[in-house]
């Protein structure tokens, strides 16, 4: 068994990941965000899918549509406790790679946006917090 860190060479196989903790609707804890306001994760077939809504004070809300979750991560190589996931949204003018992790009942979304439109805008990271109990009015 190959490894690249001391925590990886353990012989015990993990049980399948339970995806339930990442599923459902997650609301941005900051109601004044200019970024991602809400995400929704559902499972269709065996694949989790992510849907994103975002705020724009000048142009109204944007719905980004749906993208498959590309990978789901446990909290260790021999754990079955889900701890994060990744997904990528192709938005035409930009690509946003979502890298999410769970912590203390929140989902923390790191969104790496790369502009593809030649506008000269700097690529950027936004990182915001999402809860399932803070539904917006």
């Amino acid at each position: 068994m190959d490894y690249r860190a001391g925590s990886e060479p353990d012989p015990h196989p993990p049980a399948p990941l339970d995806l339930v903790p990442i599923l459902g609707t997650w609301w941005n804890t900051n109601h004044r965000t200019m970024g991602i306001t809400k995400v929704e994760l559902v499972v269709r077939g065996r694949t989790p899918w992510m849907r994103v809504w975002a705020a724009d004070p000048l142009d109204g809300p944007h719905e980004w549509g749906e993208a498959p979750v590309t990978a789901v991560y446990a909290d260790g190589p021999f754990s079955s406790v889900v701890a994060g996931y990744t997904a990528t949204f192709e938005l035409g003018h930009a690509r946003t790679a979502i890298q999410a992790n769970l912590n203390l009942g929140l989902t923390i979304l790191a969104a790496f946006t790369t502009f593809l439109d030649g506008s000269g805008r700097a690529n950027y990271l936004s990182r915001e917090f999402y809860s399932q109990v803070g539904e917006w009015p």
């Binding site: 068994m1 860190a5 200019m34 991560y73 035409g92």
Partner: protein
Amino acid sequence: MTSPAYARGDDRLPMLAAPADPEPLLHRWRNADRDTRGIAEVSCTVHDGGLWVRVVAAGPDGPIDWGAVPAAVHADLTVTGGGRALAEPVMDELRTRHYADVSATDSGPAFAASFDHGFQRVLVQARINLGLLVVAFFTEFLDGSGRANYYHREVFVRDGVAV
């Protein structure tokens, strides 16, 4: 040139008019936990105008050098800290006990990189927070070993000398 498109309000921020400067990242960063069984250090350098990131892991038989890969620099919209790690206290006739709420923060850009080890792929995301480099690792096993893909996060402290 056509008008730029927007997918959210953040896309309009003036700070995106200038490219992110990788300079604050250009250090050797050592894990704050000397006993880590994960990643021992991260080093950031610039080659040919681009950011490169080297990772050294803590293996059971000694350090494991992952080598260096190119990284994508991103402006970090979420910087915090008010410059507390670098700024001097506000001075007037008396030494004050508070710190200025300066707009310059001890922060910097974020980066994203990917290490492909053949049997595994590791997505690395990093950002500076209060002078620390906070790095999240998304490890995906490709070798059929049965190990779970896993997420972990570690915190790194800047070495004194820029690399």
